[in-house]
Amino acid sequence: MGRPCAVLSAYNGPMNVSRRKLLQVLPVAAAVPLVPEAVAQAPVAADAELEGARQYLRIGAQVVRQVQLPMTTEPATRFVPRN
């Protein structure tokens, strides 16, 4: 895994959802800081660090949920790409 990026930009790249847009579509997420306190401040207690990491995952999953997904779409089970 490459260099990590900012909180909402997991793994090497900015996501295509702006924070403003995220606030518009995610009222639940809007209630919590998009840059969790556990990440923004140092030093942090292990519990706060863990909560920050969980929050990071939750926000990522919320962003994934915004993608319109036809019911017929199956998970990618073919990882060797076509050519």
Partner: protein, 475 residues
């Protein structure tokens, strides 16, 4: 005894191979010189995980014996190399860059080691890496058992991750080539930061048997070298089917430079916004010059952009699900607390809480992404973008707080997670400097079209000399 000059440490595979066969020096002399240098300078760049001097010297004597009998093999015969310390070498420690695994020893070589042994390449050592290839995410470049990987161009800068030692070792002339691995950027990023050429193969082209798994559906092993041609020569040896790797594509790779297509028959897609807005201001001139050089070859150029998907979040969720499962026992046992980076410890722990429905949702979105990028590559054979938008971070930087420039549209700025989700090959080429540090462009191609990427890379590297620049390592 032959004098091994500094030039040899920065020579290409073909150049060293020619000198070995011309008997300008023996393989033993060459290997001894590289081992000395690796042991002397490796720690200075945080690149040395383990020296394998004794076994390397044995291998070198065997090669000399072969050459004496006139038995020549492929181009890697007698070439010194190193491997990221997540690749198993029989009966030697394989630490995965992490203290809890410091005593781990495997009974068998990884498949790529078997293949390179058969090619008579000389393994001189294991190379440092970010702990567990960065799984869980990490805050500090020093998230490794061996400390921060330091950049050969400026030791106060990071060599990149997670193949930190591989980038630093090739960049500093400690090995002629190295193997790295990539789940999302771990070959391309250190290659770009250290000014070396890196090739991420198509998913499934290179067997991962004997390598640490971080994500079954994303992990790839690939070469980091001095040139595109060197990458092709190494890939030629390590690629191939392996029934013991469930992700194996069952395909081989043969380097075929003579079967190249004319530039006029190849369409290269690029996004101006990458060069004008996403790139850090100090790097824009280098990237734009590289784009002009590529245009000058006569390729058909087309403006493109990635389809709108949250690539980073999709990849992060998939990685969390798979790494959480792979390392579940390690995490639940509490051994995870022995890692070096508090953010990484917390990140790994959070993985085991990921709901299955979130993982599956991400994998369903991945299906859409795979199709969308496949469609994009029907319009353009190759995509061109800066590998990283700027230069290497300082080793004291917090990696989870960096926010560089942004663009008004996506362009190809998220090509690293997008390309990895789609399993596509990529080639990173040094293209200049910004603030005294290397920057690079990447070519991303259709699945199993590595030869096409190497063809363009060869053209670029014949027209430029960025890949031949040497850092002030010996000053």
């Amino acid at each position: 005894m032959a004098d091994i000059s500094n030039d040899i440490f920065f020579a290409s595979i073909s150049e060293i191979s020619a000198k070995l066969r011309a008997k300008e020096f023996s393989c033993l002399e060459l290997t001894r010189a590289f081992c000395d240098r690796f042991e002397r300078l490796g720690p200075r760049y945080g690149a040395l995980a383990l020296s394998l001097r004794e076994q390397a010297l044995r291998q070198a004597r065997d090669v000399d014996s072969e050459l004496k009998r006139g038995r020549t093999r492929g181009p890697l015969q007698g070439i010194p190399y190193g491997v990221k310390d997540l690749i198993a070498v029989k009966d030697q420690p394989t630490t995965w860059g992490a203290r809890p695994f410091a005593g781990q020893v495997f009974k068998d070589d990884a498949r790529v080691i078997e293949k390179l042994n058969a090619a008579r390449a000389i393994l001189i050592g294991k190379l440092s890496m970010i702990s567990l290839a960065g799984g869980g995410n990490y805050r500090s470049p020093a998230a490794s058992m061996t400390g921060a990987g330091r950049n050969p161009w400026d030791r106060d800068r990071w060599s990149g991750g997670s193949s930190s030692g591989s980038g630093a070792a090739v960049g500093a002339g400690l090995t002629t080539f190295a193997l790295g691995s990539e789940t999302s950027g771990s070959i391309l990023t250190p290659s770009a930061f250290c000014g070396v050429t890196g090739l991420r193969p198509t998913y499934g082209l290179v067997s991962r048997r004997g390598a640490m798994a971080l994500s079954w559906t994303l992990d790839k092993i690939g070469p980091m070298c001095r040139s595109a041609e060197d990458c092709a020569l190494v890939l030629d040896e390590i690629a191939g089917p392996d029934g013991a790797d469930p992700g194996s594509a069952g395909k081989n790779f043969s380097y075929t430079p003579k079967l190249s297509r004319k530039p006029q028959e190849i369409t290269i897609g690029y996004a101006p916004v990458d060069f004008d807005e996403w790139a850090e201001p100090s790097a824009r001139a280098a990237f734009k010059t590289a784009l002009e050089v590529i245009k000058g070859f006569g390729f058909r150029m087309k403006e493109v952009r990635l389809p709108e998907f949250p690539y980073g979040a999709v990849l992060g969720t998939i990685l969390a699900g798979e790494a959480g499962s792979i390392f579940e026992d390690f995490i639940r046992s509490g051994s995870v607390d022995l890692l070096h980076d508090a953010r990484q410890i917390a990140g790994m722990k959070s993985y085991v809480d990921l709901p299955a429905i979130d993982y599956l949702r991400a994998m369903r979105v991945r299906s859409l992404i795979q199709q969308a990028i496949y469609d994009l590559l029907l319009d353009a054979n190759v995509l061109l973008t800066p590998t990283r938008m700027g230069v290497a971070d300082k080793v004291t930087d917090r990696l989870d707080q960096s926010n560089g420039p942004q663009g008004s549209s996506l362009g190809l700025s998220t090509m690293i997670p997008a390309g990895n989700l789609a399993g596509l090959p990529a080639l990173s080429l040094p293209c200049g400097f910004a603030d005294g540090l290397p920057v690079a462009i990447s070519l991303v191609g259709r699945a199993f079209y590595e030869n096409q990427l190497v063809q363009i890379g060869n053209m670029y590297q014949k027209a430029t000399d960025w890949h031949r620049r040497r850092p002030p390592v010996d000053a």
